[in-house]
């Protein structure tokens, strides 16, 4: 260690750093509501499983109705399952939860460098950027508690079983197959639907449970794209075409 390095080390020891406050109390205060929410979500997932199993039992008993339940679409790493009734969802999760679920907070520059594929962007820069599981890059416009627009881009190599996203669409949700710049896509609109992220181990990320707005999903050039926002089909298609 040379003189400058020694001087820096001594300087560090002389810096006026305030005494660390009692972080545990603050952490507990922030965790408790979250823990309560987790319990609510566990109940919610359980409730969904019960609904799905009941519906499966009913449809298996009535063969002609089987196709209604087994309508499952796979696109862009998503599994879209239609169920008869969407379970009640807890109020919008705290900012921290979605923050946790999407991945590591990043910057646009870092995402461009680390994406490993040609990231497509809108003219307006996102408010937040996250690097998530399966190489997904998330652009968030708005805040985690009030999402205006969410753009996800996942390299197809990162997909596979189990799927990145598991989506449960209520019967009131409109599911329309569309073409996005010549590529096959699906537009979901109408009743809000429950979105759950599935991690690399195939486990549901509980923090991600939330009601999504309208969604457009498509695949192109080995990348899965997903737009979520309060938009109509044509607006979503226009947004998709302006993603360059």
């Amino acid at each position: 260690m040379n003189e400058l390095e020694r001087a820096l080390t001594e300087l560090g020891r002389e810096l006026a750093v305030p005494t660390a406050p009692d972080l545990a109390a603050g952490v507990l205060a922030r965790i408790e509501p979250r823990r309560a929410m987790r319990l609510r979500r566990r109940r919610l997932v359980l409730a969904f499983a019960v609904v799905a199993l009941a519906a499966l039992a009913a449809t298996l008993a009535i063969p002609e109705a089987r196709s209604a339940l087994l309508r499952v679409l796979h696109i862009g790493g998503e599994q879209i399952e239609l169920v008869d009734e969407l379970p009640a969802v807890a109020p919008a999760p705290a900012e921290l939860d979605l923050d946790l679920a999407l991945g590591k907070r990043s910057t646009l520059e870092q995402a461009r460098r680390e994406a490993g594929f040609d990231l497509r962007e809108l003219d307006t820069e996102p408010d937040r950027v996250y690097l998530g599981g399966r190489g997904t890059v998330w652009f968030l416009y708005g805040t985690p508690s009030k999402v205006r627009l969410l753009v996800a881009q996942t390299p197809k190599l990162g997909l596979g079983e189990p799927f990145l996203l598991k989506k449960l669409a209520a019967s009131g949700t409109q599911v329309e197959e569309v073409l996005v710049g010549g590529a096959r896509g699906v537009y979901l609109a109408g009743a809000k639907h429950l979105v759950l992220l599935v991690d690399e181990r195939g486990e549901i990320v509980e923090e991600s449970a939330r009601l999504a707005q309208n969604v457009l999903v498509w695949e192109a050039n080995g990348v899965a794209y997903r737009l979520e926002g309060d938009f109509k089909r044509d607006e979503a298609l226009t947004l998709a075409s302006s993603l360059r």
Binding site: L4, L8, E10, L11, L15, A16, L23, V27, L96
Partner: protein
């Protein structure tokens, strides 16, 4: 056990006690939630500090500023513990203040690497984990930052 180093890390990166407390708390919560992702056998401290540092960076970015760090008022004693002459103490204090100002003038990436290596006294490997860069990057950034400092201060 890790509260003190977590808070110190966040404070040295943000310069704000309030932001540091917030970042350290958020860091602990995120680490707790992501504990299953900690590689088996990987050291906990740098992994925790990386999460805290990310939180601190986010707050520093969103506030758009970093408050200047200050020296303790007792900083006038020399490192070897010998009683300083008033002139010697004043000179030493002046040099340290000059060095601190020079560090704070550095590019944020250079400053962060020096903060980890010397103010937090982390190893190169720990620094690499905290800053989420390769060890080689820590080495090169440290060398570059020290070279820049040498242009500013006489040491």
């Amino acid at each position: 056990m890790h509260q003190s180093i977590a808070f110190r890390t966040a404070y040295l990166l943000t310069g704000s006690a309030a932001d540091a407390e917030d970042a350290a708390q958020a860091g602990f919560i995120k680490a707790w939630a992501a504990l299953h992702r900690l590689r088996r056998g990987a050291p906990f401290k740098p992994w925790l500090l990386r999460i805290v540092a990310n939180e601190a960076h986010n707050r520093r970015r969103s506030s758009g500023r970093q408050e200047a760090l200050r020296l303790r008022s007792s900083a006038a004693h020399p490192s070897d513990g010998a009683a300083p002459s008033p002139e010697g103490a004043a000179l030493e204090r002046e040099q340290r203040e000059e060095l601190l100002i020079a560090v704070q003038r550095l590019d944020v990436r250079d400053r962060d690497v020096l903060t980890c290596r010397y103010f937090l006294e982390l190893s190169e490997d720990e620094t690499a984990t905290v800053l989420d860069v390769r060890r080689g990057t820590v080495k090169s950034r440290t060398a570059r930052a020290l070279a820049r400092l040498r242009l500013e201060v006489e040491l």
